[in-house]
């Protein structure tokens, strides 16, 4: 049997590694991924461990790499992934790596700072350019709107705009207007204007113009819209006020020359400087881009190397230094099947480090519970995950995941049971399985996708089984196939005359006539006649309930058989006699008998000439009532001509079975605790007597050489209570679990009905159309039907059936044998570092 039948045998080993070789040996062990190290320094603080400095350096390197990665992603450069697996570098190479990263980080920061400064300068120059352009427009407008005669204007081309337009009052002289110009964020403009108006008491004149082109803020890289403004005022006091307000509202002021000639010159100068700046900026960004492209090529390899180093040092922190301070001791769990491989890896590591001391692997015997290791492949991993989600198997107990590979899809299919929906599911699962490699390489994110992709084999099996059960239920998108010809016919005995059909609206076929029922059923699956029958559900309900019980009893008996395997392996004879045998007898004599009655009724009762008068349909009993009466020791009255019992001797047989079952209850309850107590007392007595014997021979004062000195405590009341709980759980559980399997009936009924309703209410309308317009209507209705089919019937019902199947396995099946008290085997492995996951171990 493969190793997932039960978990692997684990050995606790001590490794003696020389200090030089330790690093390389652990590196080799990490590549293999089959060794779980135990922490020998659990009380030591993380900051006081031996290799804490190295771990800190690794963390620092990782931080630098993450910064590089962020910058690379900002530039939209692809990070090269060749899939190669670089080995963990030697400790002395770590210094080289650190230097490289340091240099890269510093260069990058410098380049970024330069770029920011250049961008800020460029922003200022652009703003200045806009200010100059806008003020030019303002002043030109003013000149054309001037009220002075044109000749006077022309004759004084250099007259400043700030000259008073109104004739000055006598004795006061011409008044000069001052102005400032600047740029402010568009959002702040209204607030700014209002403040100017209030503070300067309306004595300033503001003109503004919005800049169409948005600016990019050098720090936040957001787009901002700005406005150019120009403020005219009179006098020095207003000037200071205005300047203060501009400062407060964070408007940038720019010096603007008064004459248009100077403005033109300034504008040209600004444009020139701006062009130079843009060139320098482009060169800087190019340099940055080239740097990042070079780094991106090695980024993945560096990440893997650094994470491997960190993992190795975390593991080294778990080791102990021995008394001579020359070698390190490690305690680890290794599967016994892989001991040779581990030794080979250790030899390889020692060779690489050039140390002369050979590593020693010393196998220890211990009473600590080993971890549970199941060697799974890509197919069995899914099922193992499902089982482990409930509880990891105890060490070396039988692994339910092996049987789940077939029973899980089967029970799902009993509940899902539609060949059409199964086919759709098969398409999806088949695509995932066939395109496996490409989909893994694409490394899609999204938790839901990963869940579905991880369960692709489970989905594929579920869909294949669903197609089979759909064929048996004869349900394809709620329609039936008629492949072999129905066994039911409208023969002469049906009296299908026009009068009867009109009067009654229908008729019921009676199976006792050979011309109506062929006496031989439809060969594979449900007869297609039932799909179009009015009383389909009554017939199907009886069928589905019975098969649910029978399948449930089989599943539970199988579970108890697995417990026998466990008892045999652990040499637990007490449990075989006091648990397995009474449990089997109890379950079989009650619910096995129920299944027998179902089968008997199917065979012995029928319509027609082949069956005696007391086995006709009118005499057919209810199996459930018989079962209840078995417990209540009574019989119900029957119609005339019918027998009270199904077969001769039924009453006696039922009494015997009932008594057998009742005897099993005290057998499950009492013997085991007493036997265990007697065993414990015998063990203590022999140990005490052998100690006395030893003391006599060796003289007084020799201490007992018990390894570990573990006194097994035996609390009788605890054991007894545990056994009581176990017994009650089994006895009551047998009833409730058997009934729980009726969910197989419930869900398949719900699925079939939903499917039928969807067809009748949606698709049927489309198919009943009769004109050309009907074709288009059918097209639209099909789309609607298809969406609802996939979303409700495949996805929702699929998830629901999956959940119920999981529950049936976890509770009804596993409670018969599963302890599930183990802990998982978590080896030191570099596999997920190579796959690029963020978590490291340790």
């Amino acid at each position: 049997m493969g190793s997932i039948f039960r978990s692997e045998e684990m050995a606790l080993c001590q490794l003696f590694l020389s200090s030089e070789a330790a690093y390389n040996c652990i590196s080799e062990l990490g590549e293999i991924g089959l060794v779980q190290f135990r922490d020998l320094n659990p009380d030591v603080n993380a900051f006081q461990r031996k290799f804490v400095h190295e771990v800190r350096r690794c963390d620092e390197m990782e931080r630098k790499l993450r910064y590089l990665e962020k910058e690379v992603e900002k530039d939209n450069l692809p990070i090269l992934d060749t899939g190669e697996n670089p080995e963990a570098p030697q400790p002395r190479e770590m210094i080289d790596l650190e230097a490289t990263f340091e240099k890269l980080e510093n260069e990058l920061r410098e380049v970024n700072a330069n770029a920011e400064t250049l961008r800020r300068n460029a922003l200022e120059l652009t703003e200045l350019k806009h200010v100059l352009q806008t003020t030019q427009l303002f002043f030109e407008e003013q000149e054309t709107h001037s009220s002075l005669p044109l000749e006077q204007r022309d004759s004084e081309p250099n007259s400043s705009i700030t000259q008073n337009l109104l004739p000055a009052e006598e004795g006061k002289g011409p008044v000069q207007l001052g102005f400032v110009a600047g740029v402010i964020n568009r959002e702040r403009m209204p607030m700014f204007e209002r403040m100017l108006w209030r503070v300067c008491r309306g004595n300033v004149f503001v003109r503004q113009s919005e800049i169409q082109q948005p600016f990019i803020d050098p720090v936040t890289e957001d787009e901002v819209l700005k406005t150019v403004f120009i403020i005219f005022f009179q006098g020095e006091q207003l000037k200071t006020k205005v300047k203060k307000i501009c400062e407060g509202c964070r408007a940038t002021l720019y010096p603007c020359p008064e004459t248009s000639q100077e403005r033109k010159e300034m504008g040209q100068g600004v444009t020139g400087r701006l062009n130079d700046l843009t060139t320098v900026l482009t060169q800087t960004t190019d340099h940055r881009h080239r740097m990042l492209a070079g780094a991106a090529k090695h980024l993945r390899t560096w990440f893997i190397k650094v994470r491997k180093i960190k993992a190795i040092y975390h593991t080294l922190n778990m080791l102990n230094l021995d008394v001579t301070n020359k070698c390190l001791i490690a305690e680890c769990w290794i599967p016994t099947a892989d001991l040779a491989r581990i030794q080979g890896a250790l030899r390889k590591g020692t060779e690489k480090s050039g140390s002369s001391m050979q590593p020693i692997v010393n196998r220890m015997h211990t009473t600590i519970a080993p971890p549970t290791f199941h060697r799974t492949n890509k197919f069995t991993t899914g099922f193992q995950t499902l089982i482990d989600a409930y509880g990891v198997a105890s060490y070396r107990e039988v692994n339910p995941a092996l049987y789940t590979t077939a029973t899980f899809p089967f029970l799902f299919a009993v509940m899902f049971g539609d060949a059409g929906h199964g086919f759709l599911m098969m398409l999806f699962a088949g695509w995932m399985v066939l395109r496996e490699k490409a989909l893994i390489a694409a490394r899609m994110s999204g938790e839901i996708w990963n869940i579905f992709f991880g369960g692709r084999y489970i989905l594929l099996l579920m869909s294949l089984f669903s197609i089979y059960t759909g064929i048996i239920y004869n349900d394809v998108f709620s329609r039936s196939f008629n492949i072999f010809g129905s066994a039911w016919h409208i023969g002469p005995n049906a009296n299908a005359t026009e009068e009867i059909l009109i009067e009654h609206g229908g008729l019921t076929l009676d199976p006792k006539y050979p011309d109506i029922y062929e006496m031989k059923p439809y060969p594979v699956g449900f007869d297609p006649m039932w799909q179009i029958a009015v009383n389909k559900i009554a017939f199907q309900n009886s069928y589905k309930m019975k098969i649910s019980i029978i399948i449930g009893v089989f599943h539970m008996v199988f579970g108890i058989m697995v417990s026998l395997l466990n008892h045999t392996f652990f040499k637990n004879t007490v449990s075989i006699i006091c648990e397995f045998i009474p449990q089997m007898i109890f379950l079989l004599s009650l619910f096995g008998y129920l299944s027998f009655m179902i089968l008997f009724k199917w065979v012995a009762f029928g319509c027609g000439e082949d069956f005696p008068a007391d086995r006709q349909s009118r005499c057919a009993p209810s199996v459930l009532i018989y079962f209840i009466n078995m417990f209540m020791l009574k019989q119900d009255p029957v119609p005339t001509g019918c027998d009270v019992f199904m077969y001769a001797g039924q009453f006696e047989v039922q009494i015997v079975l009932l008594v057998l079952a009742l005897i099993c209850i005290p057998i499950m309850l009492f013997p085991k605790p007493f036997i265990l107590r007697n065993r414990h007392r015998a063990k203590v007595a022999t140990r005490a007597s052998s100690e006395e014997w030893l003391e006599e021979i060796q003289g007084a004062g020799s201490s007992a050489t018990n390894h570990g000195g573990e006194e097994e405590e035996f609390e009788f009341s605890e054991v007894f209570i545990e056994q009581t709980i176990h017994t009650i759980e089994f006895v009551l559980g047998s009833v409730s679990h058997t009934a729980s399997y009726l969910r197989l009936w419930a869900l398949s009924l719900a699925h079939a009905q939903l499917s039928e309703v969807l067809w009748n209410m949606v698709m049927h309308i489309g198919l009943a159309q009769s004109s050309i317009v009907g074709c288009i209507v059918l097209y639209a209705i099909f789309a609607f039907w298809a969406v609802l089919t996939i979303s409700i019937l495949v996805i929702m019902e699929g998830l629901s059936a999956f959940l119920h199947t999981l529950r049936l396995h976890w509770v009804e099946f596993q409670s018969k044998f599963y302890k599930g008290e183990g802990y998982a085997f978590v080896p030191l492995t570099f596999k997920h570092i190579i796959n690029g996951e963020e978590e490291g171990e340790g």
Partner: protein
């Protein structure tokens, strides 16, 4: 008994091959145990599932109850005991089957 030899023999034989003979032939390599277990459990459960359906329909205690239009459709399409000529109605011979919906 209402059982017919041929279907029982065919289905039982098929699943017997899958569940008893194939495990010895197909299973090789490291996954031998898993493949064998899967084949056996699949064969057993699928055969059981078919058998239960067959046994339930073998000796039916009730028959299907049909609507009158369904009766006519079955007679026309499956049994062939009714043809369109059988109906003597005053309607012209080109009456569509929709006229028989009562």
């Amino acid at each position: 008994m209402g059982a017919d030899v041929v279907p029982v023999a065919v289905m039982t034989g098929f699943w017997a091959v899958v569940g008893i003979i194939l495990p010895f032939i197909v299973a090789k390599g490291p996954n031998k145990g898993v493949i064998q277990t899967m084949l056996v459990i699949t064969a057993a459960s699928c055969w059981l599932f078919w058998l239960l359906c067959y046994m339930h329909q073998m000796n039916p205690l009730i028959g299907p109850q049909l609507h009158n239009t369904t009766v006519l459709a079955v007679q026309y399409l499956w049994d062939g005991t009714v043809t369109l000529d059988n109906f003597s109605t005053p309607a012209p011979p080109t009456t569509t089957p929709a006229a028989f919906n009562i």
